[in-house]
Each structure stands twice: as structure tokens, then as C-alpha cells.
Amino acid sequence: MEKNPLLSVRNLRTYFYTEDGVVKAVDGVDFDVYEGETLGIVGESGSGKSVTSLAILRLLDPKGKIEEGSEIIFNGKNLLTLTEDEMRRIRGNDIAMIFQEPMVALNPVFTIGDQIMEAILLHQDVDKKKAREMAIDMLRKVGIPEPEKRIDEYPHELSGGMRQRAMIAMALSCRPKLLIADEPTTALDVTIQAQILELMKELQREYGMAIILITHDVGVIAENADRVVVMYGGKVMETSDVRTTFKTPKHPYTWGLLNSIPRLDIEQERLYSIPGMVPDPLHFPVGCRFSNRCEFGEEKCSVEMPPLVEVESAHMVRCFFYHKVEQAQKLSKAGEGA
């Protein structure tokens, strides 16, 4: 724990200036990623998890601005102060990214070989022939059969799982220190998802890279992340190591989420439902962003934004009444035992 973080995000605020008003998609987010670990960011649509990942690489579309005072420290450098050229040298080289839908994330008019080689040629001092060899090696490494043949195929000629493997090969071709995976398996079938997640674990062990795994699927986080950040309404609601969060969630949102999904591991009489709707980022409630859907909240919650406090060692929660959740959790555990 005393290690220096590889990436530190501090007070990240990312606003989108639209015709209808300012969308505060990410509003003061802090977290660290340490070398070699997997940090899971979990959240629903509009939670700001994908915007956070794009902000780290400064890939937001022109309407989105990273506000003053935000810091993204990678390897001791604040990425937000780099020039565009310096940033370009980091993208794909030190920090790589894979996306949700490999069908649309790969360029349809270039072969996968072209696209992997492009990354290699951009960041490494090798000639085309060598780059091609390296690309074939990468494809073999990610488990694509007959890589010598597949390298000249176009994305549409591969299956969904193979495409995501090619995407991973492209992202890892320069051995990045950090891989950002934005919903990498959401578009895939479960049996393929298991393959891809297993592959990512293997490659992480081999390369020693850190991974930020972004997903809405708490199951994927539970099985693949070391630590977890729960986001809601552009804010971090809870963060700790995976075991703690899943065993003793302390934020009402995390608690509600875990109780509202059908699960294979336990028998459920009736699912819990978080009331209300996923908030519209244009009109977040005043005070705690979750206050209008929270069953534990009191008046204070709809007035004041609770701070993110460390309630146990390395377990941070943004809630005034987290002890109420503790009680509810105990009750439900007791009920399960009976």
C-alpha cells in the first residue's frame, strides 16, 4: 500500500457544454491505480465512468472540457499539462485503451495487421518487416489461431471474440504500463466473455501492467478486480478492495445494486429495487446525487453533499448514514441464515 501510485486522479471534473446546459458528467473524482493491479470502476449509464477513462487520455470530444484544478498524474507527470505532442507519445505507448464494441472500434477499411502495425511503428523504432513479425507474435499471444493468415484479414471477417482479441493485441503491442478497458466484454457472449477476461488476467501477469476495468457488471468486477470504485452521478460513492465492498457495502447505492441483481450464488425470494430513475446528468439532485432514490436518506442529504470519508482502513464512502446500511446488511445476512 505504501507504493507510489502509477496513476493518480485528483479532483477530476469534466463538463460538457451543450445547448441545453452544462452537463457535469464527472464532478470531482479521485482515485489511484497502483502498478500491476486491476482497479474496477463500476457504474450505470450516466455515472461518468467512461468519460473518466476518456479524460485520462484526453480523448473527449470537443464539447467536453476538463476543468481547471483537475489533475491526472501518471508516473509523476500531470497529463493535463502536457502538450498535444507529448500526450500523443503516451497514448498507445504508456497508456493503452480497449473499447466496448470492437466492431466499431476497429477501422473497417484497414486489416487488423495494418492497425496493430501502426501502433508499433508509431512508438517503436522498428522497420515494417519487424513490425509485422511483432504483430503476428501479438496475435498469437492473444490466442488468435493462424496469426500469419489472420493478420491480413479485415475486422468484419473475424468473430466478435476474435475482434476483441485483436483489439487487445493492438493495445498491448507496445507493452503499456496501464491498460484502460472500457466495458471490454459487454458486447460478447458469456462464454466468450470468460475467455477474454481470462486472457486479460494472463497477459497482466506476464506484462505486469495495471488495468482499469470499467463495467456495469458487478459480477465481472468481483471476479476480476483487486479494488473497486463505485461511481454514481459523476461522483465516487464508495471505494475499497473488492472483498470489503462486496461483503460489507456501506453506501446505500452499492448495497441496493448488489441486492437488486439476480444471482447464481444465493437463493433470492424477491429482488430489492432501487426506486426511481437513473438521474439525468443535466438535472442532478441537490445535495447527495443519490438522495432522491435513497431509502436511508434524511433531510440533510437533499441539502448537502456528503464528503468521501475513510470509514475503515482504505474503505472510503460518500454517505452521512452509512451505519444504517451496515445494519440493513446485517439484517439481510441474518435472514439468509435462517
Partner: protein, 393 residues
């Protein structure tokens, strides 16, 4: 016909008359692939290949499988949004397969399926349906049977539409963006003359309140609702027809996690209130486990395993079912489970593998698996599986 056996056993074993609401008998749906200079059919996508199962009144059957396994095609074919290539769809003890054919083709269907068999001297009815139709045939001849099955086809179609409804996956494209919710909801009942125009506001209002939407919102357009609310509107639309069976095709897959349980709970509440039967199509085994009483597992257009929920999740017999279960991520870091990672992709339904469709990916495949198609066998009571070595994984 294996199915009739299953049904009869059920009736006797459980000692109560569980009524079969829907029987899918050997359903086949192939889509042609056209190519060449004259666009001739060169191959077939075998989307659904000889699938049979029963749905009893009041229960929820979960139909589970990965993309491309044909589960959605089953739903669409049951609704006759696609015409089946062959097989029978029996609803409420009547064969409905020919309902959406032209009168001439419907008659041909009845002749080919029933009359020709009945005319043979050594004919013996194989199931209740045969018996029923044979009695009619004996009493009033071919014309009587035709009158019974093909007469008033238009009325039968409407009745069929009222009996079976669907809730779609995509809450964004399943409601006409240019229509107000009131008109979307009133369309079905008005078309069936269940209600008259002046009543529609009242009826629609009630239906909306029932699915948890303020009735004052009936004049809104779909885009003014959130995904979860739209799905509620979709459910209300189905409900307004007073259906017996609702086919829910990935009805919650597109919703946010925190909204899903709202809609699932709503559907379960409505089931109790209206004595509905559900055929729940989903790729999500955890959801299927939560919601259904019996489960049907499909792979590459074929049915691989079907069993009551508890039985299936405790002791899955097909290697595919077992691998599928192990692949589902569980939100509990302490939960230990057997990890089976399947190799390779799902093959194309145009060129399915020989023998058992699962054999190229199966961890326990034997030489016979690539040669012989395993038959669907009842291994335990009410638990059928299509595998040469059930339970070996």
C-alpha cells in the same frame, strides 16, 4: 412424439392437472441464403432445428442461450412474425400452425398433417390432440375437420393474437416514436374491438397505473420517458390484450442494472395478478434462475437441455449448460466455483458441425459426438438432455 409422454407423466406424477398452454412440437425455422446469378437458394441458416417443449399454464419457462442460438427466432416464430418451416405450434389444445397461412395453404396443411394419417386403416391416435381431431374426423368427416380447423380463420387469428403477446428487448425501438403513448396502448384493443374509442382513455389510464406510470402521462411521446418506463409501457401494451402467454424477449437486457429489478419485480407481480404465463427468453442465466420455474437451454438452433429450475441449477447434465453456468460472473469474490473456459467460438448455423453441435467446444467430447446427433432423452423425470454422455462434466 416424446412430448406427449412428458406431459402425461407430469399429470400423473404431480397429481394435479397442469394444463399445457403452449406446446412447441418439432419446430423448425430455416432462413434461405440466396446467391448466384439468379438469386437461388444455395444454403439454409438453420436458426431453429427441431425444438420441442411445453409451457404449462401459470408458469414461467426460461429459454436461455447465447447469441445465434435461435432463441429469438423461436419467439418470433411462435408469434408467427416468421412462418415456421415445419413443426407444430399448439395453443390451448388447438393446432395453430396454419392460422396465418392463406386459406388454401391452411387446408393443405390440415390434409397433410392430419387427414392423410387419419385415413389410414391402422391409425391410432398418439396424443390428446390426435384423439380430439380424430373424433371430429370420424363424426363429420374431412369437411368437418377442415371446418373446425380452417373455418373462420380471420377470427382464429385475432383470438391467437389476443392469447399470445410479446415484450421486446429494445425499449427505444419497440414504441413508435411518432405516436403518443395513449395511441400506442389503445391500438391493440381498438383493433380487436375489445374497447370502443370513448373508453380508451380510461382503459389506457388503468393499464398505465398498473405498470407504475402516472396515467396523466398518456399524452406523452415515447422519447419523453426513460428506458425503464418505456419497457413498462411495452408491458402495458401486451397486458391490454388480456393475453394468456407473454413472450418476453430479453425484456430487461437493455436496461440499467438498477432499473432491471424494478421491471422484473413488476412482471412477477403482474403474473400473479393476471395468472399470466411467461416464456422468458434471455442470455442471462442468473436472471433465468431467479424468474423461471422451468428452463430450456438452446445451443446452435437445437435444444440441449430442459429441466425444472432447481434440478437444472443443482445438477446440470449437459456440458454446455454446465460451462455456461461457470462462465457467469458472480458478484461475490468469496464464491468458489468450478471454472470451465470453453474454447473457440459458436460455429455458424449455416454450417453446423456434424453430430452434436457442441462437440467442437465440448471438454468431454468423445469420437461418437462428432458422428451422431444425440437424441433428446428424458434422463430423470421431467429432465431431458441431448448428450451422449450426460453428466460427465
Amino acid at each position: 412424439m416424446t412430448n406427449s409422454k412428458v406431459v402425461n407423466q407430469n399429470n400423473t406424477q404431480e397429481g394435479k392437472d397442469r394444463k399445457v398452454l403452449l406446446r412447441v412440437d418439432n419446430l423448425v425455422k430455416y432462413f434461405p441464403i440466396k446467391a448466384g446469378v439468379f438469386k437461388r437458394t444455395v444454403a439454409w441458416v438453420k436458426a431453429v432445428d427441431a425444438v420441442s417443449f411445453d409451457v404449462y399454464e401459470g408458469e414461467t419457462v426460461g429459454l436461455v442461450g447465447e447469441s445465434g442460438c435461435g432463441k429469438t427466432t423461436v419467439g418470433m416464430t411462435l408469434l408467427r412474425l416468421y412462418e415456421p418451416t415445419s413443426g407444430r405450434i399448439i395453443v390451448n389444445g388447438e393446432d395453430t400452425t396454419h392460422y396465418f397461412l392463406s386459406a388454401r395453404r391452411a387446408k393443405n396443411y390440415v390434409r397433410d398433417t392430419y387427414v392423410k394419417r387419419f385415413q389410414k386403416s391402422d391409425f391410432k391416435p398418439q396424443d390428446d390432440l390426435d384423439k380430439k381431431y380424430y373424433d371430429i374426423f370420424k363424426n363429420s368427416g374431412e369437411n368437418g375437420l377442415l371446418e373446425h380447423m380452417v373455418g373462420d380463420l380471420e377470427k382464429k387469428r385475432l383470438q391467437f393474437r389476443r392469447n399470445i403477446q410479446i415484450v421486446f428487448q429494445d425499449p427505444y425501438s419497440s414504441l413508435d416514436p411518432r405516436m403518443r403513448v395513449k395511441n400506442i396502448l389503445a391500438e391493440g384493443p381498438l383493433a380487436h374491438k375489445i374497447i370502443k374509442k370513448p373508453q380508451s382513455i380510461e382503459t389506457v389510464g388503468k393499464a398505465l397505473e398498473e405498470v407504475g406510470i402516472h396515467s396523466g402521462h398518456m399524452y406523452r411521446f415515447p422519447h419523453e420517458f426513460s428506458g425503464g418506463q418505456r419497457q413498462r409501457v411495452g408491458i402495458a401494451r401486451a397486458l391490454l390484450m388480456n393475453p394468456k402467454l407473454i413472450i418476453a424477449d430479453e425484456a430487461v437486457a437493455a436496461l440499467d442494472v438498477s432499473i432491471r429489478s424494478q421491471v422484473i419485480n413488476l412482471m412477477m407481480d403482474l403474473q400473479k395478478e393476471h395468472n399470466l404465463t411467461y416464456l422468458f427468453i434471455s442470455h442471462d442465466l442468473s436472471l433465468i434462475k431467479y424468474i423461471s420455474s422451468r428452463v430450456v437451454v438452446m445451443y446452435l438452433g437445437k435444444l440441449v437441455e430442459t429441466a425444472p429450475k432447481e434440478e437444472l441449477f443443482e445438477a446440470p447434465l449437459h456440458p454446455y449448460t454446465k460451462s455456461l453456468m461457470s462462465a457467469i460472473p458472480v458478484p461475490n469474490p468469496e464464491f468458489k466455483k468450478q471454472r470451465i473456459i470453453l474454447q473457440g467460438d459458436v460455429p455458424s448455423p449455416v454450417n453446423p458441425p456434424s453430430g452434436c453441435p457442441f462437440h467442437p467446444r465440448c471438454p468431454v467430447a468423445q469420437p461418437i459426438c462428432s458422428k451422431e446427433v444425440p437424441e433428446l432423452k428424458e434422463v430423470k423425470s421431467d429432465h431431458t438432455v441431448a448428450c451422449h454422455f450426460p453428466g460427465s462434466l
